[in-house]
Symmetry: C2
Subunit: 331 residues, 2 copies
């Protein structure tokens, strides 16, 4: 058995993370813990919140230079001291950016055979799908009368959210970074209209597309866009604050919209952290799996191969160059 | 019969409104409209939102120089062409800053004999009380487990809100502008602790008083305080945005708190406009009247006499120099 290849943070990135901010190293493979498991990663999820962990600002805690990058994986049990969890089974766990990880049984979740391909456990059938459902269905209660605005609409959370809202009969307006992504959003995600943020004035287009205002805004990006939307919010508009993609690479945080705008619109704004919905994963899967099996929703993946390419894939993600859910396959 | 004395806006105030921004003039007494009423004002309500009307930024529309100031009054019917509304009866109506006003019957509301003194129809049993109830009970759902922060706590809305929250078992922290007001809040409004904003550091005091964070914040003031509170919000804290007292005298609006703060706290923020609750006034009165009759809540009034003193009273209000609900009695 060779060693355990890992990606560690070399230094705090300045602005957009570069591959050179990370370092590949080889450590000893962890020992099998008493009563526990040794796992080998098959798929690693890369997500924007990791930029916030590196900066020390995330709810889940900080990652310091010299530490192994953290992240959710689909891993295979390669050795087990637990009768219930046999080698060969796939689990979802916090494997991190490395090949091998050791866990106690309560730290892993057996993948049901329903989840196929297994990488979907990291996207539509995992955290990003749950985030989209929690935001749009449980928090915003999106329905047929709503005009919903979703930025980063071809990203992992955005694409799931757009499809869920469209299936519930809402009119979905997307925002994406290229004409190609906009075409995809209209053709595959049920999006009625998609604004190319690199070619169009978002405020102007929004005013045209939503003359009576935006009913629901899923804020995945932060930055100035929140204010632009608040100025065009419908009466009793709902905003779900979830991500800060436009800000993760900056050291300063943008302020929010002036409260007077929210008062005038009788707006409601709620913050969303997906960890709060962990206990409702089963309920979510009962809703989502039939849609996926019936081909009514889909999941595009932006797949890289090899742990050594994770830093580059993360850098692309943080520049909005990914197209679909960013996944690294450890072949 | 003499003329109809009125207060008109002379010019847009710069900053704090001064008495010289207004002008007293005499117009003709309006004629009795067919099927309608001629009313004479007994009490005029002065409220911070009027500063926003003057600036042209209020939901209810703008007041331009040369126009009569608008406002809610308790007025007496002095002539009637409506069988249902006899002269001598008191009504609540949009009489404005003037002695006489003409109305159609659907523009006035007969005061029930329960409302005693009649001026309470402009405060605890009127718009400001309803605002407090809608914000704290209907929107925030304040209960015994909550630590509620209420700024401008001796003002019309703040004092009602503090008393409602205290009666529901919540721990109320107030903020006021003088030691005298803080004493009053503790002694008469059920406030557990009151911060003197002119003598204490609000952030420091809040951290001491709410080590586990603020559960509910009734934002009546806007400005920097909203950010100070968001930094000390409890998990799942609720903010009701209602007024911008600290900003009405300024031409620029303060931005809101960075969305990341609201995400991390899973906060919910809702805008409140009391007009949306007009249809629930009866329901509110059924809750509030028994409390008032039993002496469990009270209403302090900051009473001026004579229409000619309305501009000065409004100027004092907009400097936070009022102590209780600002009312002008037209003797």
């Amino acid at each position: 058995m060779q060693g355990n290849r890992q990606v560690v943070l070399r230094q705090q990135p300045q602005g957009v993370p570069a591959a050179s901010d990370f370092e590949l190293r080889e450590a000893a493979i962890p020992e099998l813990p008493a009563g526990g498991l040794l796992c080998r990663a098959r798929y690693l999820s890369l997500d924007p919140y990791m930029r916030s962990q590196i900066a020390g600002r995330h709810t889940s805690g900080a990652i310091a230079p010299g530490e192994v990058m953290r992240g959710e994986t689909v891993s295979e049990i390669v050795a087990s001291d637990s009768a219930a969890l046999a080698p060969g089974r796939l689990v979802r766990c916090q494997g991190g950016w490395q090949e091998y990880s050791a866990h106690s049984p309560d730290q892993v979740e057996l993948l049901s055979a329903d989840i196929d391909p297994p990488s979907y456990a990291l996207s539509m059938l995992g955290m990003t799908g749950l985030t989209a459902w929690a935001g749009m269905v449980w928090q915003a209660g999106v329905g047929a009368a709503d005009r919903v605005l979703i930025p980063a609409v071809t990203g992992a959370v955005g694409s799931a959210a757009a499809q869920f809202c469209a299936i519930r009969g809402a009119t979905v307006i997307g925002i994406a970074g290229s004409a190609e992504k906009c075409d995809y959003a209209r053709e595959r995600l049920g999006v009625a209209a998609c604004i190319n943020r690199n070619a169009e004035d978002i405020g102007e287009r929004l005013s045209e597309l939503c003359p009576e205002g935006v009913n629901v805004y899923f804020d995945l990006v932060g930055g100035e866009l929140l204010q632009t939307v608040c100025e065009r919010l419908a009466l009793r508009g709902r905003i779900v604050l979830c991500g800060l993609m436009a800000e993760y690479n900056r050291s300063e945080r943008s302020p929010g919209p002036p409260p007077g705008l929210l008062i005038a619109r009788r707006a409601s704004v709620t913050g969303l952290v997906v960890y709060d919905y962990d206990h409702r994963r089963e309920e979510y899967l009962r809703e989502c799996l039939p849609l996926l099996r019936a081909g009514r929703i889909g999941q595009r993946e932006d797949l890289s191969h090899g742990l050594e390419n994770a830093p580059q894939a993360f850098s692309r993600l943080m520049q909005g160059q990914n197209f679909g859910k960013t996944i690294v396959a450890l072949d």
